[in-house]
Symmetry: D2
Amino acid sequence: MQKITILIHCEDQKAIIASVTNYIASKDGNIIYLDQHVDADENVFFMRLECEFSAKNWNLESLKNDFETQLATPFKMFWEMYTQEEKPKMALFVSKYDHCLYDILGRYSAGELPLEIPVIISNHEDLKPIAERFSIPFHHVPFTKEIKEEGELAQLDLLQHYKIDFIVLARYMQIITPNLIAKYRNKIINIHHSFLPAFPGAKPYHSAFKRGVKIIGATSHYVTEGLDEGPIIEQDIARVSHSLSIEDFIMKGRDLERLVLARAIKLHAEHKTMVYDNKTVVFS
Amino acid sequence: MQKITILIHCEDQKAIIASVTNYIASKDGNIIYLDQHVDADENVFFMRLECEFSAKNWNLESLKNDFETQLATPFKMFWEMYTQEEKPKMALFVSKYDHCLYDILGRYSAGELPLEIPVIISNHEDLKPIAERFSIPFHHVPFTKEIKEEGELAQLDLLQHYKIDFIVLARYMQIITPNLIAKYRNKIINIHHSFLPAFPGAKPYHSAFKRGVKIIGATSHYVTEGLDEGPIIEQDIARVSHSLSIEDFIMKGRDLERLVLARAIKLHAEHKTMVYDNKTVVFS
Amino acid sequence: MQKITILIHCEDQKAIIASVTNYIASKDGNIIYLDQHVDADENVFFMRLECEFSAKNWNLESLKNDFETQLATPFKMFWEMYTQEEKPKMALFVSKYDHCLYDILGRYSAGELPLEIPVIISNHEDLKPIAERFSIPFHHVPFTKEIKEEGELAQLDLLQHYKIDFIVLARYMQIITPNLIAKYRNKIINIHHSFLPAFPGAKPYHSAFKRGVKIIGATSHYVTEGLDEGPIIEQDIARVSHSLSIEDFIMKGRDLERLVLARAIKLHAEHKTMVYDNKTVVFS
Amino acid sequence: MQKITILIHCEDQKAIIASVTNYIASKDGNIIYLDQHVDADENVFFMRLECEFSAKNWNLESLKNDFETQLATPFKMFWEMYTQEEKPKMALFVSKYDHCLYDILGRYSAGELPLEIPVIISNHEDLKPIAERFSIPFHHVPFTKEIKEEGELAQLDLLQHYKIDFIVLARYMQIITPNLIAKYRNKIINIHHSFLPAFPGAKPYHSAFKRGVKIIGATSHYVTEGLDEGPIIEQDIARVSHSLSIEDFIMKGRDLERLVLARAIKLHAEHKTMVYDNKTVVFS
């Protein structure tokens, strides 16, 4: 059996679901998962389908061509189609913090993530030994305000060389350049160590401590031009109390950062997220 | 616009979704919500649909008849269809505990529950004043092992008189008779004050305390012949610690009981639950 | 047995705990609960004690006098002492939303709250019937920008008349005047329907929806001159998704508001909160 | 400054706290943390203290001797005293599952755990490469019913050789022998992949799936002679729904197992747990 995943969004119209499901039936496919959502305010329709086809009739090209002609053109759909075999290629950007890196590489090695990690890129050498432990190519690309352009160029070269599909900033503490954002629109995932939109920017645990909150959080989001303002993929929280110090907040927060980033990576790699109007539809 | 909700389950087969959505389209209806699930082990298909029809063409009888002929018969479907106007009638069974009763009546009075409460039935007189505060008929139906048959008869009479659709046991501490269970199969909701299947039966907070658990729970489920063994609708938990006494467990548990029961009532009244193989499918 | 609760805070110094516990021992008292906290940044010591004394030697006045002389004066302590019998008197301020009011009155009637509610004050007549259901005096005190002074005067008269110890704003949507805040410093509890400091001010559910957050929250805090900036007592959260509308956010949020406000009321009434530097120490 | 932690438990008596805090004051120590608990049913007093002493007067032996004479003997205390420098030595027992092992070694390498891991012991060779990646000695000790005695002997030899203080079973799927349990009473931590006491024994995710629960859990506990019946240290849960398969349960559960085990390890290594009557007091 061949298994494919289809993502669709378009203006909401009558009979979309009937047309898509008829199409799958006409191709002798079996729907094993279907989820849909209508944004009533914006009048946009979203759909995610998983289907199985028996291998002998299977032809991905004709499936795609007919989808374009019979569905996408008349309904003016934006759509993507993925086979189960294609594993997306993910680049890890890191800096000096190692806890998210260890967590991702542990999950990756344990076979929990449906993706490949061809490269780790960092603006410091510190985490190189970890990359070596896990036998993943590590590239040191210095990056500061002064050498932004050289840095970006080196990054883009590496991303092209390793055929990277999406990027994860695992506590990478540098600004991403507009060029890179434009090339990987809705394909760069950041983890921010607060419950956004509370405490954007630097030192959120310090701000949370000062404000005396009873709950701290972490947020994974797609990177956009606005700092910590991109579409939110996943959030989670942990209880804190007066008895914890800032250092305790930071330590508790590490577990949030690990978990929330790992979930976002998995959702993206499994094609379960769609972005619209600076928000995400997450079919989980 | 007329709004209806359709629940379907049947053996999993090809083209069910296409057929149902074609049918809705053929009736000029608009699907505003669709959720489906396939139990791969049992090969059963479940579906919940919300559709809108413009009022002028609207004819519920023909919609139902054609559904039966065109879909239910060929696919051997079990199905239910509800209009938004019909509010299900719920009977409350209580005993001496008042916290769930106050919570449900508060929500009901605040307009949060899409249902009617025509009657409260109790084996004690204690909570009658609360029913009076909220102007809901209260009937005292004594019930013990010795007078089980008279009790059941009186209950059935009241349920028929008030045209009751489903029953909620809001900490009603008596056994429900097999006759009543059979008449209201998957329509009697109980709240059990533990995280089932841990601590079934009497005094679960005492057992939880003795075992030294770090988390307590509450479980709402449909009542079946097996004590605390029916299909689970909803569960939730709260953290506890060594510093809490049994009385603290009980007090903390009251919030769980209130919330978990209120959620189950709402899910049932909105036709979001389906039962199969002693489990629930909850389309929430 | 007589049971008392003592709250202390003062500059951190050596031997405070030894001195206080010696004092209790010297009075033949038995410590049944002791919790303490040191704010290392501010060098402030906080303590909460529950003690039992056998009734025959019991003399509250001498206990207080000796505490003042032997401990409070040498250590420059701020302190409070409460007997278990004194129940604090709470005034409820409401407007048009009824869900928190129903919840508090239900808990109160069910005997869950160690306090008295002598009066409900509102700027509208809408919720008067609910107060009547629960047999609690209801006073309509109109309040708008234009008649702020008359409103405040009427409020202060009622609070004095009913000997009110603390005030709860159960979704009371009006500004509290500086005079009232000053008279009830750290004794006015508000519930804000967001996860502060995210979304302060009006319509937080709408802002949360627009931002596409995956978690919503509620926050109870003491009222200060800054809008939604007072010391946080308690917070909680609930998961949301793209499939929920603003109305769904509001409905889900009602459960958060109820719970978070009820917990804050209970903590305050049990003398488990202390305020320092716009933060709370909560000994729970 | 020298920092020590003291754990005490004894029969509840008057003036214990005063006596202990006086003692610390007499030694010119400063209490930076104090937590206590009285088990009212069993009449047992528990206490955990962190104190600082200025280095020049510091003498651990005299501190311990005087504690024994002045406090432990008269009050019949069980007590332990730890300096901050001593890091407990932890042995990891693993089998074939690698996710908890990766997580623990990642945290260990990232400097989050106040302990040393001198050895990993396994009944299979599978995870040896992971131990090598992290440069930790790995010993293969075959263990089956038939060779229980040789296995136990080899384990005990290794534990002695590496001077092990406590043992963590990171999804080690074999029975621990009574001898080993007796030698490491309340010093062997297991992670069980259910919300105990629900679903003890083998295949808890399968049982949870079959029962149709809406929440799954994980439990860390000290190992005793009764299978999955030891004192619970920590538990946590995750929501599941009808749409998840058994494989999804297992995958979701891995995050619970990782987190709950990591927290238990940290609590134990920081001397924050005490065991009494098959329950834990956790001063966190």
